[in-house]
């Protein structure tokens, strides 16, 4: 049933869309144009980390995700783009079962991480979230010290038995997040006193402190200024060497800069998945084209 497309290349999209057409608002394309469960481009991969088939998400009666099938390859950076309310965040949150806490939210379909079902009732969600970490839209450090923020994950998962091990983990994580030099002298200072950009990088450090395999990022830069954003993007590029990263973003430039593949969502449908430079230079689907050229969204 699946058309297996060749392995996804890992070259970063260079072709940023410069020629943004003046925002002549056309009426939104009707949903009827979209055929359910049909995605153009290359949604499948040879070496999937996540294998997601026929995923549907319901909030009570309403269907937020409509029959989406997608592979997320090992060590790739995939960006989810699309207009607000298109379901990209909802879909992202299925990947580490963050939707569990919402009572009315029901997930159907097959979601596999390394060939193991994520939504298997016997599956331990704590173990899943230790493997699939998450960075949120708004920096949300715990109101504790910088050290305690990073050490929290290793502590609850029992990753460090000795204080020196924990110190190492904290230092490494902060180094990877490019924050070590800024905070090494004030690890005991409260994290909420840092700037927004530092807080977000601290949250990333906190997430990678438990050595997850996948990092989910839900609009990680939407609350940051351009300089902090640039730093976080650099960080994403470095992290992509050792982690699989899924990033939801509203900034198409950001998607173009950091991701290998880009997935375009619209009203709960996955419209198109392709290599990032292809999506931004020659999108296959006319709706993708309308979106990235700014005709709606």
């Amino acid at each position: 049933m699946n058309t297996m497309n060749p392995t996804v290349t890992s070259e970063t999209g260079a072709g940023v869309v410069e020629d943004k057409v003046a925002p002549v608002k056309e009426e939104r394309p009707a949903e009827a144009e979209l055929e359910e469960g049909v995605t153009v481009g290359t949604p499948y991969s040879d070496d999937p980390k996540f294998k997601l088939r026929n995923v549907e998400v319901f909030y009570g009666e309403s269907r937020a995700i409509k029959n989406i099938s997608l592979d997320i390859a090992r060590n790739e950076v995939i960006a989810f783009i699309g207009p607000s309310g298109c379901g990209k965040s909802t879909f992202l949150r299925c990947l580490n079962r963050m939707n569990d806490s919402i009572d009315i939210c029901k997930v159907k379909g097959s979601l596999q991480l390394d060939d193991n079902d994520i939504y298997d009732p016997s599956r331990d969600v704590v173990e899943l979230r230790a493997r699939v970490g998450m960075v949120f839209q708004k920096p949300n450090p715990f109101p504790k010290s910088i050290y305690d923020n990073v050490a929290y994950g290793p502590r609850i998962h029992g990753l460090a038995n000795r204080k020196s091990d924990l110190d190492d983990i904290v230092e490494n994580s902060l180094r990877k997040a490019g924050l070590w030099n800024e905070v090494k002298d004030r690890l005991d200072a409260t994290a909420t006193g840092m700037s927004g950009g530092q807080q977000q990088r601290l949250c990333i450090a906190r997430t990678i402190a438990v050595s997850p395999e996948v990092v989910l990022m839900d609009e990680p830069c939407s609350a940051l200024d351009p300089i902090a954003t640039a730093k976080v993007e650099e960080l994403i590029a470095e992290l992509s060497e050792s982690y699989t990263i899924v990033i939801v973003t509203h900034s198409m430039q950001q998607a173009a800069r950091v991701s290998h593949r880009t997935a375009y969502f619209h009203l709960g449908h996955l419209v198109e998945v392709n290599e990032t430079n292809k999506v931004f230079t020659s999108p296959e689907h006319n709706m993708t084209e309308s979106y990235i050229t700014g005709r709606f969204g």
């Binding site: 580490n96 963050m98 806490s101 009572d103 704590v126 173990e127 899943l128 979230r129 230790a130 970490g133 998450m134 960075v135 949120f136 708004k138 949300n140 450090p141 715990f142 109101p143 929290y152 994950g153 609850i156 998962h157 409260t190 909420t192 949250c203 906190r206 997430t207 438990v210």
Partner: protein, 425 residues
């Protein structure tokens, strides 16, 4: 289309009106605060003005000859003799030293009413401890009689001298002039339990009773209330049963406190056969009464913890329990504490439910445990305020001051704890 000039004019006029409104609103606020402050001031002035004399005791210092013959006593170790002896006699003899002409029977009776009725016991206790003192002369300090005490403390106020005869007043004035009758800080108030005699009555029994009762209330209500709030907010499924429980907790907060007294009487004393008048039962009843307050305020505190913190912890792979214990409860703790201490302060001032479980009894001994009979501060105030003796009225006011001091220190503690635990994000 409005011309620009006239539009500016309209805005200017409306501005004037707006500012006037604002000024008026600020005035209302100032008046409200002034009224509140004035009432508070009035309350304090009234209570302190009436009650400060409660903190003063009046004593009479006499050289007493412990004359065995006058007391009908020759062996202080003989219990029968001790119970029959007249310990008042040496005191009267000593007073007669100041007023030699007072020899008539009625004069002697009036003289004996200058000192408190427990003065004889003081001599008895002295002799029981030191039998060898029989026959010697000792300088002893006695509490004066209630009527003398209020007369001395309110010198010149007619209302406080009606129960003394003119002769007694003359004596007292003379003794005060000679320095025999003197006033000092009322240590009796803080070292004894209740008494039939106002000068001899202390509030320590009630303070201890309140303290023991509050300990029981806190130990039961705080953990139960916080656990209930955490469960209802974090773990309970959203269904009809939970809604039903919620509605009932909110209703319980509005139930008159005397109903909780009836419940305690029926349940703890009637059904479980617990003793009456004891701090344990009082504490349990007040805990039931305080629970809704604690639950409601704790739930509000838990609700105010930002969801982003919860998400962050959950995203890190913390289990539900860890999210709650590591993040939600610590962040909600200041709010929970504030609510609990408000509830406790309410319980501290509660009288009605305790009347029903027998904590209104006249108890002389200072309670020494959770199962010894006790009364509490507000009930003690109620008992004194309804007594006839003038001395009790000022004691009641003094008791109110002690109670207020307790409340203010509890609130100060609450504010201190909140400031210490508060975290900003």
């Amino acid at each position: 289309m409005i011309e620009q000039g006239s539009q500016a004019e309209i805005v200017r006029q409306s501005l004037k009106k707006r500012y006037r409104k604002e000024r008026r609103f600020r005035m209302y606020g100032r008046v409200a605060i002034a009224v509140a402050l004035a009432s508070l001031l009035l309350l304090f002035v009234d209570i302190i003005g009436k009650g400060y004399t409660g903190f003063i005791k009046t004593t009479i210092t006499l050289d007493v000859t412990l004359d065995g013959e006058a007391m009908y006593l020759d062996d202080p170790t003989d219990k029968d003799q001790m119970s029959m002896a007249d310990f008042q006699a040496p005191i009267i003899a000593s007073l007669q030293g100041y007023f030699p002409q007072a020899t008539e029977r009625s004069d002697v009776r009036q003289l004996s009413r200058l000192v408190g009725s427990y003065a004889g016991n003081q001599i008895k206790d002295l002799l029981v401890d030191n039998p060898g003192l029989l026959g010697s002369t000792q300088t002893l300090e006695f509490l004066v009689h209630d009527t003398v005490s209020v007369y001395v403390k309110h010198a010149g106020d007619e209302a406080y001298s009606v129960r003394l005869s003119d002769q007694q007043k003359g004596w007292v004035d003379e003794l005060v002039e000679k320095g025999v009758i003197d006033t000092g800080f009322n240590d009796v108030l803080f070292s004894r339990g209740d008494s039939r005699e106002p000068t001899n009555a202390g509030i320590l029994g009630a303070i201890m009773g309140s303290l023991l009762t509050m300990i029981v209330t806190l130990v039961i209500a705080f953990p139960v209330g916080v656990s209930a709030a955490v469960y209802l907010e974090e773990f309970a499924p959203q269904n009809r049963l939970t809604d039903f429980i919620e509605v009932n907790i909110n209703n319980l907060a509005a139930v008159p406190s005397i109903i909780f007294g009836l419940l305690g009487l029926a349940m703890f004393i009637g059904l479980f056969g617990m003793p009456r008048s004891v701090p344990v039962v009082g504490g349990l009843v007040l805990a039931l009464m305080t629970l809704p307050t604690i639950i409601i305020s704790s739930r509000a505190a838990i609700k105010s913890v930002p969801p982003s913190i919860r998400e962050a912890a959950m995203g890190m792979g913390a289990s539900k329990m860890q999210v709650v214990l590591h993040h939600v409860v610590p962040l909600a703790m200041p709010g929970m504490m504030t609510g609990s201490i408000i509830g406790m302060a309410q319980a501290l001032g509660e009288t009605a439910p305790l009347l029903l479980i027998g904590m209104v009894a006249f108890i002389v001994e200072v309670p020494d445990g959770f199962f010894s009979s006790a009364t509490v501060l507000p009930v003690q105030i109620y008992l004194w305020a309804s007594s006839a003796e003038q001395g009790f009225i000022e004691l009641a006011s003094a008791g109110i001051m002690v109670l207020l001091a307790f409340m203010i220190s509890m609130n100060a503690l609450a504010i201190w704890l909140r400031k210490r635990l508060e975290r900003r994000w």
